[in-house]
Structure formats: structure tokens, C-alpha cells
Symmetry: C2
DNA sequence: TATCAATATCGTAATATTGCAATATTACGA
DNA sequence: TCGTAATATTGCAATATTACGATATTGATA
């Protein structure tokens, strides 16, 4: 018990949920906003900015990265992430088509 | 430890996270889609439709309802929820302004 | 009022998420 | 190559979420 049942839902519905999950934590929303405002981005700056431990930020970054929302230079001891703008817009469109497809009212 | 730190983030950022959390579970996405397709909505129908226990659906409905996404007749033994279209569109706009405000790229 | 059907709540178990400290890894420069 | 700074990983504890069965509640109707 307790585990989310994925197999009973359509692929589209699960996709929406997975994408929403990325934005469902304030630290990740903060990180995304912060990255989008920088010329280049160094994780250590984010740590000072967001106010969570370095390891915690690193984990959140991994979640964001796995969702495909980052691109850039991941080598070296001072990384330079960027927003993957294409992917980000894909997400926006995904949400919008969900919202638009769900707008029919019943009463 | 383990509890999400809300106080270190701005109100806007927390709001995005709270709203995203509603859509961050496939059952809730399913429920929203289902409701939007019905003339009237009876929870027991949803149970058959979604494939989760009645109590589980009821809990998810509560989450959706607390987010303000439902309106309608909540009295009687056969309820008639509807999507709160205004609120739903508010959410869509919230997401879009977040997406649009975060579109600046760094590299 | 007694019953029934629909929905909500409670209690609990399973799983997931969050966060941190400690440690490991990595790549650069001396 | 050695040290160092930056980032990643690991291990663990705390908390949150998900799900279900059992039970309670609610409102309509006989």
C-alpha cells in the first residue's frame, strides 16, 4: 500500500503529474527562477541564495536536470547550468493544453 | 529534519509549489479531467472510472476542493461537483506568468 | 423513524520526499 | 602530483503522501 498507482492512468495524465512534481517544491521553483536570472550559474551561489544545504540543493538540481530542464556545461568545478528553454516551453505548452482541454464546465 | 522549509521562500514561490502539488498526482489529474467531461458528477462514478478505493478518491477530491477548484452542490447523497472555472483559469494564468517570467536564458 | 445509498473520516501500513552531515568525487591550478 | 574548491553521493532521520479497509455520517425516501 501507499505507492502511487501509475498503471491505472493514461500516459498523458502521468506525464502531467511528473512535470507538475518538478514545480511542486518551493526550493525547485526558487532554483529555476534564480537560474533564469543569471548570466552563468554556480551551484554554490544558489546555496547562499536559497538557504538550504549544499547537498540538498544538489539533489533538487538533479530532479530538475532529470526532467530535462537544464542544459549547459556540466564539466569542471564551476558549472554553468542554463535553463533548457525549449524543454521549459514544452512544459508550458503541456500545461496549457491540459488546462485548455479541461475547461469544459458541467453545471 | 525532512519537513519542507517554507519560510525561506517568497510567498509567490510557495504559491506556485502549492498549486503545482494539486496536479502532481495522476489520480488528481484524472479526476479533474473526468469532472470536466461530465454534465454532473457523482463520486461513485469516479471510483469506477479511476480505479482507486472510494476513500482514496474522496481524499483526493478534498485536496482538489481545498485548492478551490470545485464548486457546486455539496449537499445530499449524490453530490454534483463542477470545476470552478474561474479558479482553474487563475491557476493557468499563475503558471503562465511563472513560465513567462522565467524564460530568460543565461547562455 | 428506520433504512439505504453516497460520501467522509479514521486508523494504519507502505512508500516517497525532504533535509542535513559526512564523505567522495571531480577538475583545475600551483 | 598535490591541494583545493565545487559539486555529487551516501546514509540516515524526520516528515509527508498515498492507499485501503472499516466505520461514521449524511440526506433522501419508504
Amino acid at each position: 500500500m501507499g505507492a502511487t498507482k501509475l498503471n491505472i492512468h493514461s500516459k498523458d495524465i502521468n506525464t502531467i503529474a511528473v512535470v507538475a512534481k518538478v514545480f511542486a517544491h518551493p526550493a525547485r521553483v526558487s532554483i529555476l527562477q534564480y537560474i533564469s536570472k543569471q548570466e552563468s550559474c554556480i551551484c554554490n551561489d544558489i546555496v547562499d541564495e536559497i538557504g538550504l544545504a549544499q547537498s540538498t540543493i544538489s539533489q533538487h538540481l538533479q530532479v530538475i536536470s532529470k526532467a530535462g530542464l537544464l542544459k549547459g556545461n556540466f564539466k569542471g568545478n564551476s558549472l554553468c547550468y542554463c535553463l533548457n528553454l525549449e524543454r521549459f516551453q514544452e512544459f508550458q505548452e503541456l500545461f496549457n493544453s491540459f488546462f485548455n482541454a479541461t475547461k469544459f464546465n458541467c453545471c
